[in-house]
Symmetry: C2
Subunit: 159 residues, 2 copies
């Protein structure tokens, strides 16, 4: 048999936690997208996530926001264009370290939309959390953070 000749003593990338996470993350993304199709026609899942991030970090400049959502400045700007056009956020000029920047705030309309959407996700969120006991959830969260911290030291995230 052909597979008999294969030397499988080396490890496989697809068995690593990194790739395991990539696949799992795709599942989560697919779920989010499909839920959004049913629930919401006003904004995209990406815009929802950015809106949620802004609501927790009012007054960020665009680049700092880009660093949080791990997208480049170009795409961050484009998403903000869309959210601003729909009056879910407002942008205003300000300074940071004596530099002219465009800062972002969420509007009342944005907050209302965010709250509406979040309430609809609540059941799915609770269902997901019910999968774990408190301790495993903490370990999962801590493990993810460990990975991010370790990679931060090796890789330069050019944003």
């Amino acid at each position: 048999m052909l597979t008999e000749t294969f030397d499988k003593k080396f490890m496989h990338y697809i068995d690593t936690p990194s790739y395991d996470m990539e696949l799992t993350s795709k599942y989560c993304k697919t779920l989010l997208v499909q839920l959004f199709d049913k629930i919401c026609s006003e904004i995209s899942p990406e815009e929802f996530i950015v809106l949620d991030t802004i609501s927790c970090n009012n007054g960020l400049c665009q680049r700092d926001l880009a660093r949080l959502i791990l997208k480049d400045r170009a795409n961050t700007g484009r998403i903000l264009d869309s959210l601003e056009k729909k009056n879910f956020i407002i942008r205003y000029n300000d300074t940071k370290n004596n530099r002219l920047v465009r800062k972002v705030n969420i509007t009342k309309m944005g907050l209302d939309m965010l709250e509406k959407l979040t309430l609809r996700f609540q059941p799915y969120h609770e269902q997901m959390c019910k999968l774990f006991n408190e301790e495993d959830l903490l370990i999962l969260k801590a493990s993810l953070k460990k990975i991010r911290d370790a990679i931060s030291k090796i890789v330069e995230l050019q944003i």
Copy 2:
């Protein structure tokens, strides 16, 4: 202060394990891409992952492969086109359930390339594993699987 008027009693998507994983997964992907830039010019990170998947699952048809890597049939076919052109895989016609399918095998050249690349990743992989004790690693793996299984029941992955 403006933030005082915000009602933060609802949960945030960005605090969920799903999003936590999405961000962490992006870190991992960035690391992989940057390593590949230095290490390898022959194939892309995506092609590497597909090659690794094929090496562990010889003789799959394209759709079954697509289901493993969570990409649609179109992109799976395109990646295979590229890998075949470089002689890292071979495709051949066969039948599955009385249906004509194109199955995929890895070649000797493909295996050699895979082994070469895997050896170069070994140090990074070990460094990553050293972050965890055995138990946390198992919990992480189990948690990811739990999430995927739960989502599988809700979402139809149209591949």
